[in-house]
């Protein structure tokens, strides 16, 4: 920790010590690079930062017709409503649990898949598999939900048919609080793993094949190649994606839960997004929704900032 801080200080010091003229020269010699950033920066300024004053409606009783200037200020009332709700603690916990399960089980999925695909030498096979595994990404949860209800049905579903033929009791997966989260996490992995692998495949594709050749000459077996070449080359992307994922730790995927949950599993399935939906359904409660969004964003930003800091200390690039 101390060493890094020291390095940082040194860098700062170096920067300050640098004569002004030289700093200006770097700007001048890279003026074209500054210029090409302009459209992107302008975009973020106009379409992302200008509307951002909209977050103040979290502290108002926002009325669409009156606009932000005409709406009544209510301070922290919406936050109070959220935190004093008897169910909020349980809902928050459910959200966190499902999110963590998805992270722990789901995050490595695409990495493993990408590595497995990379080990396939047969080009046709590799391409076909690659194309097939990303298909589920294009199916909506409504469709998948319909299929899951049938497949997991205790009376006619294929999964329970297999279970009973092996001598087990049939399980009513979607109505059972013990199984519900498992189904949520597993179906999410199944749906998104192929899609998620694409970005890692791109990272692997960037590896210079000569490195592998050299490793083979050195007698490294497949396993060692994966461990010492493939994985380290993917590390940058893995860290970035993990950091970004942390920023959305309280978003668990509304559509999936909404399609699959039912009153028998509300205890374990009710999450922040379904809660907001329920509160908002009465009327477009922009203020309440914004307040909840703000709460999620603050937590997300804190996590990302911490993790980014940590990643840098571990010698990774980090996001900023």
């Amino acid at each position: 920790m101390a060493t890094v801080d020291a390095a940082e200080l040194q860098r700062e010091a170096g920067l300050i010590a640098k004569p002004k003229a030289r700093r200006f020269r770097t700007i001048r010699s890279y003026w074209d690079l500054y210029l090409i950033m302009l459209p992107g920066i302008l975009f973020f300024a106009v379409y992302k930062y200008l509307p951002m004053w909209g977050v103040v409606i979290a502290f108002q009783d926002f009325s669409v017709f009156a606009g932000i200037r005409g709406s009544e200020w209510v301070g922290l009332a919406h936050f109070k409503e959220m935190f004093t709700d008897d169910d909020f603690y349980n809902i928050f916990l459910n959200t966190l649990l499902i999110s963590i399960y998805k992270l722990v089980w789901g995050f490595p999925g695409p990495i493993i898949l990408a590595i497995m695909l990379n080990e396939v030498r047969h080009m046709m096979y590799k391409r076909s598999i690659q194309t097939l595994v990303y298909l589920p990404h294009f199916l909506s949860w409504i469709i998948i939900g319909g299929i899951l209800i049938n497949v997991l049905s205790p009376s006619s579903g294929i999964v329970n048919a297999i279970l009973t033929s092996l001598g087990f009791e049939p399980i009513f997966f979607l109505a059972s609080p013990e199984w519900f989260r498992t189904v949520i996490v597993a179906s999410d992995i199944w749906k998104e793993v192929g899609w998620g692998a694409i970005i890692y495949l791109a990272a692997i594709a960037g590896i210079d094949p000569q490195i592998y050749e050299a490793a083979i000459v050195d007698g490294a077996n497949k396993w060692k190649q994966i461990l010492h070449i493939t994985l380290p080359s993917m590390m940058g992307v893995i860290v970035i994606l993990l950091l970004l994922r942390l920023g959305h730790v309280l978003d668990v995927g509304f559509e999936q839960i909404f399609v699959l949950y039912n009153p028998l599993v509300y205890d374990v399935a009710d999450v922040i997004e379904t809660y907001v939906y329920r509160v908002g359904i009465q009327q477009a409660q922009f203020s309440f929704t914004t307040a909840v969004g703000l709460f999620k964003a603050v937590i997300g930003l804190m996590l990302v900032t911490l993790a980014n800091h940590g990643a840098k200390k571990l010698g990774q690039e980090g996001i900023w």
């Binding site: 459209p39 017709f65 979607l174 009153p263 009327q283």
Partner: protein
């Protein structure tokens, strides 16, 4: 080296051009939206018809398509309204999926149309509160004789706040949804008569579950079926004289039926069915499609059908099994001789005029025509083109009907109460489907909500939460995860979590509107 420089500068120029194209398009796009309404409103038409009022209306089109060459502002039906009202009308149709969101951004945009059709009572109430809508009482008196004639008093009450009418309501033409249907061939095979009392129903359900009604020698049928979120229980609750969540009078006060002892009895009855394995065990997860599938494939022979299921799963069931014969049953009679099913409220849509409108009277004149002289044409199509009278009956040319289906976007803006035209339309679909017969059956016993005002503030705050608790508790009671007495603690919880507050508001309304 030189090549590098040139190619770089070319790329740079190209990049700049793209950027310039984007940014130059922004300003050149700027005047477009402000021009647009005038353009489509017809700037050419304006000077020659100075006295002609022009209005813009936003309607819900339900995803209907226009034939090639026609669109929402260019078709014989909108022309028909324009000519008969001497109004210059511009129609805007936001995407049907996401309509309410589109309405919200329209309200935020500042340039509001003269009329908006909303399908959501809460939306309506919220904009009344924001003082965004114009009171219409005087205009209706002056320009809307047909509106006053065709819209019943109770429906007006549902759009009246503090004595001001803020919307022209569109009527629900259907009294309710659910009718009991059973397999006649199954009853016959087991030697049973069509059930009438709840006890007889229970016996038939039991027999349909255990006595092999389809005669295939396998235990593969259920006696009765419900769907997720307690759907399809209306006739059972009706036998106890109530409907879930509806307000009903007890000793001069309105109370919510979900917390009445009758509700507990309904749950006890259903829990009994589940306990004896009569009920489809998967019901808490049944979506409409799952339920239809079980009906169509002969897994269930007695259920609370939608009135149009005779053209849906029931028809499919007959298609799959030529022996399948379905009959509509009498609603079950409960221990105290009661019958009932869920009845819809009067109001299905809210046609509102934003306060910014300069031509509110033109809107009323248009609606007055659409519910009066124009209604039959907007519903059925042009006479002698889409339909004609033969032997006193409407005969429809179905190809033309489908081609002109877009007219119903206009026909549904405002529907009169209990219209004969509607019956003609349903009969023309084929009397073998018993559509009107089913609706009549529903109308006979439909239990209506005794509260038909706009959603109260308390409902806005608590209703969704109360409904969730209710569905959760009731579902668990029926499947046996909670004992029946859990109902009593639910009632206490319901009252404490906002139910009492809503009850108070509802009774204040009741005192003023009874």
């Amino acid at each position: 080296m030189k090549i590098w420089k040139t190619s770089t500068s070319i790329l740079l120029v190209a990049a700049m051009l793209v950027i310039a194209a984007c940014s130059s398009n922004t300003p050149s796009g700027t005047p477009a939206p402000s021009d647009k309404p005038k353009e489509s409103g017809g700037p050419a038409a304006k000077p020659e018809t100075e006295e002609k009022a022009s209005i813009e209306v936003v309607l819900f089109n339900g995803g209907r398509k226009y034939p090639d060459g026609a669109d929402e502002n260019n078709n014989p039906y909108i022309q028909y309204i324009r000519e008969n009202t001497n109004l210059d009308i511009t129609v805007k149709l936001p995407p049907a999926d996401g309509y309410q969101d589109a309405l919200n951004v329209i309200m935020a945009s500042g340039n509001l149309p003269d009329m908006i059709q909303s399908l959501d009572a809460s939306w309506f109430e919220s904009y009344v509160k924001q003082k965004a809508l114009l009171p219409l009482n005087d205009l209706i008196d002056q320009y809307g004789p047909e509106l006053k004639k065709n819209i019943p008093e109770d429906a007006w009450k549902s759009v009246t706040i503090d004595g001001n009418i803020y919307a022209i309501p569109s009527m629900n033409v259907v009294p309710g949804n659910e009718v009991m249907y059973a397999r006649k061939d199954w009853l016959d095979r087991l030697g049973l008569k069509p059930p009438k009392t709840l006890e007889e129903y229970r016996e038939v359900m039991r027999a349909f579950a255990f006595d092999d009604p389809d005669g295939n020698g396998q235990d593969d049928t259920s006696g009765f079926i419900l769907a997720e979120n307690l759907a399809r229980i209306a006739p059972i609750a009706g036998a106890f004289g109530i409907q879930r969540q509806m307000w009903t009078e007890r000793d001069g006060q309105l109370v919510n039926a979900s917390i009445l002892p009758e509700m507990k009895e309904t749950l006890a009855f259903l829990a009994g069915l589940q306990k004896d394995n009569i009920l489809d065990p998967e019901w808490p997860l049944n979506k409409a499609a799952n339920l239809d599938e079980k009906i169509a494939s002969g897994k269930v022979g007695l259920y609370s059908a939608m009135w149009y299921d005779t053209r849906g799963p029931i028809l499919t069931s007959q298609n799959n099994d030529p022996n399948a014969e379905w009959i509509a049953l009498d609603y079950p009679t409960g221990p105290e001789g009661k019958q009932g099913t869920h009845g819809h409220g009067y109001t299905a849509g809210f046609n509102v005029v934003p306060v910014t409108s300069e031509q509110p009277e033109a809107v009323i004149r248009m609606l007055n025509f659409m519910i009066g002289d124009g209604y039959r044409t907007l519903l059925l199509g042009f006479e002698n083109e889409v339909w004609k009278m033969a032997d006193g009956k409407v005969v429809t040319d179905f190809d033309k009907h489908n081609e002109h289906i877009y007219r119903q976007t206009l026909g549904e803006v405002i529907k009169p109460h209990a219209s004969e035209d509607e019956r003609d339309r349903l009969d023309s679909l084929g009397t073998q489907f018993n559509l009107n017969a089913n609706l009549d059956k529903i109308a006979e016993v439909a239990i209506r909500d005794a509260y038909y005002g706009v959603p109260t503030p308390g409902m806005g705050k608590h209703k969704a939460d109360l409904v969730k608790r209710e569905i959760e508790t009731f579902t668990k009671i029926i499947v046996g995860q909670l004992p029946i007495d859990a109902f009593d603690s639910f009632v206490e919880e319901w009252k404490a979590k906002g139910g009492d507050e809503i009850t108070k508001e509802v009774n204040e309304w009741y005192a003023a509107n009874r």
